[in-house]
Structures are given as C-alpha cells and as structure tokens.
Subunit: 275 residues, 2 copies
Amino acid sequence: MRKLTGKELAAAIKTQTAAEVAAGPQPRLAVVVATDDEASLWYVRSIAKAAAGLGIAADLVDLGPGARAEQIRETLARLGADAGVHGVMLQTPLPAGISAQEMAAAIDPRKDIDGANPLSLGRLAAGLPAFVPATAAAVMALLDHYGVELAGRRAVVVGRSTVVGKPLAHLLLDRHATVTVSHSRTRDLAAVTSAAEVLVVAVGRTGLIGAEHVAPGAVVIDVGTNPTGDGGLAGDVDFDAVAGVAGALTPVPGGVGPVTTALLLRHTARAANLP
Amino acid sequence: MRKLTGKELAAAIKTQTAAEVAAGPQPRLAVVVATDDEASLWYVRSIAKAAAGLGIAADLVDLGPGARAEQIRETLARLGADAGVHGVMLQTPLPAGISAQEMAAAIDPRKDIDGANPLSLGRLAAGLPAFVPATAAAVMALLDHYGVELAGRRAVVVGRSTVVGKPLAHLLLDRHATVTVSHSRTRDLAAVTSAAEVLVVAVGRTGLIGAEHVAPGAVVIDVGTNPTGDGGLAGDVDFDAVAGVAGALTPVPGGVGPVTTALLLRHTARAANLP
C-alpha cells in the first residue's frame, strides 16, 4: 500500500508560489469570517501564517458570529472593489440561516481564489477558465503528483457538496474518468464504492469508509477532516482497515490538507498577476 | 414495456403557459442564429411557430453563418439590455472556432431561458434559483410525469455535454439519485449502463444503446435526435431492441423533444413575469 502524503507536493507548490510572489507586486488575501467556531478560526489563522511565509499579505476580516447577510454581502463587494486586495475568501460556517452559496455570489470572480462563486463553478463545469475550489484542486493535484491514471477509469466521489463533491465530479469528468457521485441517500454504499478504481471521500464522518467499501488495489483519497476529542484530525476513511485493501491511500492529517492550503496561496498569487 | 410519450405532458405545459401568457404582458423571445444548418433552422422555426400558438412573440435574429464572435456577443448584450425582450436563446451550431459557452456568458441570466450561461449552470449546481437547460428540464419533467422514483436509485447519464449531461447530473443528484456520468471514453459502457435503474442517453449517435446496455425493467430516456436519411429523427436508443428489456422507454420523435419546446416557452413566460 502506497501512502499518498501531501507534504512534499505542498512544499513544492509553496516554493514555486514564493518565487512567483517575489517576482511581482505583493499579493493580498482577505478572509472574511463570521463565526466563533474554534476549528474554523484555527484554520483561517493557519492560512494567514502560511501566506506570510510566502510573502503574501493576509487580512482577517472578522464580522463576528452575529453578522447579517447584508453585511457579509457588502463586505465581499467592498473587497471586490478594492484594487489592493487580490484574493477574497469567505470562511464557513456562516450564522444560521445564511446561505454560503448566496453570499459567495458577491465575491468578484477574478478574486475568487477558493472557487466559491456559483459563476466559478459554472465556468468550471462549462470548461471555461475559472478558479477551482482549493480542496477539489488539491485532490486532482495529488492524483497527478502520484501519476494516477484517470482516463477511462471508474471514479467514485462520496459526498455531493458544492465545495468539494460537485466540482470534483467535473474535474474528474474533464480528465475522462467515468464518474459516480454517491451520498447519504445512496443505497448500498459499499456496492457503489467498491466499483471504484479511484475513490474520493468527502463527507465529514469519521470512519465512514471501511475495508468492505474498497476494491483491492484502489486509489483512495480521504478529504475528511473531522476533529478528534484530543485536538487532532481524523479522516472519513478508517486508515488501518483500508490500508490492508487499497493500493494507495492518503493519510489524515498530512494528505489533502496541506496541498489545499498551498493551492489557496498559489491561486492568490495568480489572482494578483491577472492581466 | 411502458412507452413514455411526451405529447400529453407537452400539451399540458403549453395550456398552462398560454394561461400565464394571457394573464400578463406579452412575452417576447429572441433566438439568435449564426448558421445555415438546415436542421437548426427548422428547429428554430418550429419554436417560433409554437411560441406564436401560445401568444408569445418570437424574433429570429439571423447573423448568418459568417458571424464573428464579437458580433454574437454584442447582439446578446443588446438583447439583454432591451426591456422589450424577455427571453434570449443562442442556437447552435456556431461558426467554426466560436465557443457556445463563451458566447452564452453574454446572455442576461434573467433572460437565459435555455440555461446556457455558465452562471445559470453554476447556480443550478449550487442549488440556487436559475433557468435550467430546457432539454435537461424536460427529462426531469417526463420522469415526474410518469411517477418515476429517483431518491436512492442508481441513475446513469450517457453523455457529458454542458447543455444536457452535466445539468442533468446535478438535477438527478438534487433528487437524491446516485448518479454516474459516462461518455465516449468510458470503458465497457454496457457494464456501466446496465447498472442503471434510470438510464438517460444524450450522446447523438443513432442506435448507440442496445438491449445489452439495459437492465431488465430499467426506465430509459432517449434524448438523442439524429436526422435520418428520409427527413425523420432517430434516437440514441435502438427502440425495438430495448423495448424488449426496459420497463419504460421514451420514443423518438415524440418523447423528450415536445416537452423541451414546451418548457422553453414556459421559461419565456416566466422570464416575462420576473419581478
């Protein structure tokens, strides 16, 4: 079983991005937050720290957990109009009753470095240039980094979220995989997933995928990042069980996560260099 | 085997749409054409005729087969700005080298009655209100009309076009089907399609799907409209062969086609009544 770690790839992307940053004007990323969820705030701070390490300025725009929809929308519009800001990201969760998709429509597509605006998703689906959601892009980058063949192969995505499952389905289709999207309402999940040559799991439920869900030799990418009781992270895949069946498997932490952060910063640098 | 004809459903949608039209200001549809392809021109004229029958005005804006991209874009933008036009449609094919997706980005999303603007597709994928491509909407309307259950069932879409296969995949996912998209690069197509409880074929190749591609009892929707030598239309499904296996099957012509036209007109009437 090959362990598909993301650290080397993330480091390579960061080195390349730092060089791009050094060659141009300083990119500036603004992350809008409207939550007091500790895990989200930790994530946002980790992005800001990684950005600083590459010479990218990162502003935390904290609207607090009581923010109203209009306030979030106006903040995103203001950042879109601000020529000094190159990348804009809206962190979830948002206050109850506010739709992330609706809010994200207010992100300038040219600054939408996490591909959250529905226009970015539509352009991706239509095969037009667009920023791709960083997590979905990280899955593809990992598959490419490890030379996983996709054309003509059967790929199964577990999870149909707008931020991961759906864009991933389009990215895998573009690479000529036969793509199945399964989810919480799928009957006999194990029958569906064990037909996969490439299995990507993005649900957010610890240990959802066990050995019985995986075909011998399959490539398994675990997008789950579920907080554990002791302050760590666990994936959606039962690593030890699946390691005995799969041909290749990403660890959590240390798999998709670091590549996602690196790609967010690459996207920010690219946004700063858009003509 | 149940024959899923579209004529009654199309008639019902038209009757309802005529009533909506009679109750409001007259809707006006503009169809932009840049081809001398006879089948396309015939289709556009058939839409205009059907529109007239419901009290909807329809203008053919013929730019000719030599139209340039800039001219098409400007025409779409002008129609978007024209308060007297409620629905805008760009007929394909376009002159060689011009991308329909890129052009469609110039259609005002509020007038995009065939869901061709990538923003409409992105909003559909993100679960936000949007005009859905009429053919994909017609498939769903037919499935609903005949009471086909979708939640938890295995649906397979053959064809990954931006106008049919991809939006259909999102619509089926929204209805909680487990959705597979297959295409020309799929290995062992029969193995993939014969796992389907609901099979939708939208490729454009006469007789692509035979009895060996279909599970006993499956519901099969044929989106293909391939011109035959004698001026008729043939589907992608070998009707006689598949009729012996499938539980239900749409004819071509007389299945998805009439519902598609009816829905284009319904969308136009709705566009005219947007607040």
